[in-house]
């Protein structure tokens, strides 16, 4: 059976299985619109990280409160480090520090 993760939505505090959620790809992309260079636009639209290890993702609680949020997760062990609001430009520092304890040296690899 696929869809086996459990995630906690920081907007309604529900911890639920993946079937309540919808995955939205890499988090913290910066939008480039009209006036941006071809390279900037290409990187915004197409260039995605595909890390083996720590990853920051967007998820939506679509069969729930309907809100988008972010998840810090390990793509190999599937460990979930934290979920946090979508209204951020970068992962909060306390979450980064927590990941340091779980995956020492991970920052050097990204």
């Amino acid at each position: 059976m696929d869809k086996m993760l459990t995630l906690t939505c920081p907007c309604c505090n529900v911890t639920a299985e993946e079937t309540e959620f919808h995955a939205g790809g890499e988090a913290h992309l910066k939008r480039f619109g009209p006036g941006s260079s071809d390279d900037e636009f290409e990187s915004y639209l197409f260039t995605r990280k595909n890390p083996k290890g720590v990853h920051f993702e967007r998820w939506r609680h679509n069969n729930g409160c309907g809100k988008w949020f972010h998840v810090a997760r390990c793509t190999t062990s599937l460990e979930v480090f934290a979920s946090y609001p979508a209204q951020t430009y970068a992962p909060p520092e306390d979450i980064l520090v927590h990941i340091d304890t779980r995956r020492p040296g991970w920052r050097a690899k990204t």
Partner: protein, 189 residues
């Protein structure tokens, strides 16, 4: 106007381990806004006539009630015939406030599942912990029932009220009947 017709015209089934009935029509208003704002709370309470709910709760009394839908959304419930007036009243209360109040009474179908096995009926369809120690009357859960989104709360130990989209009312009714089919007691809770 003619008499309002619910999605399934009050279809019900009592053959199985729980009684399932479409109820309504019920007045339902989606209210979006800053839930901390006084005007929003006042608007909700003036129509819902219950205490303002905590996160993921639904306070209800008869046909009135307020359900917490999301950090910026409530479902305010009242008798069906009062919705028009209620919206006018709400919009007056909300004047000058960034908020959205819309009538969704007909966009939804509402079911009641009653009986001692109602938790099991729901637990066959929703990926939710329905243990009596975990999910208690008054809690409100938006989730899915099999393949469609739905929300429910327990009015009391023997009564759950389920809200889904009107277009899938028949599917949800059939699902509930299937989950409550005779001889399907799990005896888990």
């Amino acid at each position: 106007m003619s008499d309002p017709v619910t999605a399934l015209n009050h279809l019900s089934s009592g053959d199985g381990i729980a009684h399932i009935a479409e109820i309504g029509p019920l007045g339902m208003i989606t209210l979006r806004g800053d839930l901390r704002a006084r005007a929003i709370q006042a608007a909700a309470i003036s129509i819902g006539r219950v205490e303002f709910p905590e996160m993921r709760h639904c306070n209800s009394a008869g046909e009135n009630g307020i359900a917490w839908m999301s950090p910026d959304e409530l479902l305010v419930m009242c008798p069906y015939a009062e919705v028009g007036e209620a919206l006018t009243k709400m919009n007056t209360t909300l004047a000058g406030q960034h908020a959205l109040a819309v009538n969704v009474s007909d966009a939804r179908a509402v079911f009641q599942v009653t009986g001692p096995y109602l938790r099991e009926v729901l637990a066959k369809l929703a990926p939710v912990d329905l243990d009596p120690g975990v999910f208690t009357p008054g809690m409100f859960r938006r989730t899915r029932l099999a393949q469609v989104p739905a929300a429910f709360w327990m009015r009391d130990d023997q009564t759950a009220q389920i809200i889904c989209f009107r277009s899938v009312a028949k599917y949800v009714f059939d699902l509930l009947c299937m989950a409550a089919q005779p001889g399907s007691e799990v005896n888990h809770f």
